[in-house]
Amino acid sequence: MALHTVEFDIKLNTGTITIDVPTHTGVVGSSDMEVLMEPKDLEGGVSVRIVTPVTGFDDLWKRVLDKFVNETALSDTRIEINDNNATPAVVLLRLRQAFSQATTD
């Protein structure tokens, strides 16, 4: 009944990009999500925390985040997500938005 929390770390050997500023993107509307992205010293890693009403998709979350971290070569970043039934495509879109906000502001 209570909300489901998924937590994991991703570490790439090729991760070199860091973000400049903490950023917040998105609204927890139906089928949507919000994300906080903050620079944090994680020895080159990315740590992720997802809070969602949905269970049974932990592997899928991991795959989407892996894809995002791989394509951006992100490192030393803390990602926190409040999800409300967003599809993987929406998740990836919001992550990319947050990343572009955090690196261009």
Binding site: M1, L3, T23, H24, E34
Partner: protein
């Protein structure tokens, strides 16, 4: 974060709560208080297994328009209909409290302050009222906010902005009515019981909530402007709302007292005359009221462009 310049010509209707808060004050002056990085989300929703938000669907903060400090509350309709729960309610109440305390301190420290330099409070409503998941806390917040409006009276003018998708309904309809001045766009909707609830309780013959034209001419900005529930009707851009707030902000606090709908023997008498008129007229449609206000061709008012509407509309006086 969105760029201030880009926001100005954005549709107010389609803007999220944070963009509205950011865009309503001067460029670069908005400071969010109790924002998403403070991670104040609802403990009740979490227990119920419902999605939570880092800001609980309410943006609060402070900025400036010209020389006027502007405290801002902005509700996010996409998060559970902009409903007010414990955390969002506390953020709203505390922003008002902060505005009053700030005013008192400012006036005590600088007795010869001009009207323009005294703070105002702006609330961008987008809500259906109490969040039913945490109803007691939500109701309490409504009461607290109304109480604080009374404390703010004569000190901090309270300006309502209504032009967002969800509209302003339920308990927050009462709250908006208790503010000093209401600015709406024609896409804003204001009422107590929402259209769907009326249909559910009274039947489709009483009110067909799927008839959007009917819904808008009964609860929408144009109707509210004609009957005097809204003081001002502006275009659907953040800039238009902002201009109107900038125009009002330097006014002396006494000027705001004259714009109120409730809270004095005169306004009570006006409300009673309005009820008597409704009983006498038995209007079947909002257009009957528009005709009563002296508009010869009420049907034409619905679709004409805003400028033409504002140029020729006659408003009800009771």
């Amino acid at each position: 974060m969105s760029k201030w310049n880009d926001l100005q010509e954005h549709s107010f209707l389609e803007s999220n709560a944070r963009d509205r808060a950011l865009g309503i004050v001067d460029d670069g002056t908005f400071t969010e208080l109790a924002g998403p990085f403070d991670r104040l989300s609802s403990p009740h929703l979490e227990l119920l297994g419902d999605a939570v938000a880092f800001d609980d669907g309410l943006v609060s903060g402070v900025g400036r328009i010209g020389k006027t400090p502007v405290f801002v509350v902005s509700q996010e309709g996409r998060f559970i209909g902009g409903s007010i729960g414990e955390v969002g309610g506390a953020k709203m109440a505390n922003t008002i409290k902060l505005a009053i305390d700030f005013h008192d301190k400012l006036v005590a420290d600088y007795p010869d302050l001009s009207e323009e330099e005294k703070p105002v409070l702006v609330i961008s409503f987008e809500t259906g009222g109490v969040r039913l998941h945490e109803s007691n806390a939500g109701l309490l917040a409504h009461a607290e906010v109304m109480d604080l409006f009374q404390k703010a009276r004569g000190k901090v003018p309270v300006i309502s902005l209504i032009g967002s998708k969800v509209g302003c309904f339920g308990g927050m309809g009462f709250v908006a009515a208790a503010t000093d001045v209401i600015i709406m766009s024609e896409f804003g909707r204001l009422g107590l019981t929402g259209p769907e609830v009326i249909e559910q309780e009274m039947g489709k013959e009483e009110f067909d909530s799927s008839d959007r034209a009917l819904v808008f001419r009964t609860t929408g900005g144009r109707h509210k402007y004609i009957i005097g529930d809204a003081n001002f009707l502006v275009a659907d851009t953040i800039a238009a709302f902002r201009e109107k707030v900038a125009e009002l902000a330097p006014l002396p606090v006494a000027a705001f007292e004259e714009m109120r709908r409730v809270g004095s023997p005169e306004t009570v008498e006006r409300q009673v005359r309005g009820v008597a008129l409704a009983a006498e007229m038995h209007p079947q449609d909002a257009r009957d009221v528009w005709a009563k206000a002296g508009n010869d061709d009420p049907a034409s008012l619905t679709d004409m462009p805003l400028a033409a509407f504002l140029g020729q509309v006659k408003r009800l006086s009771v």
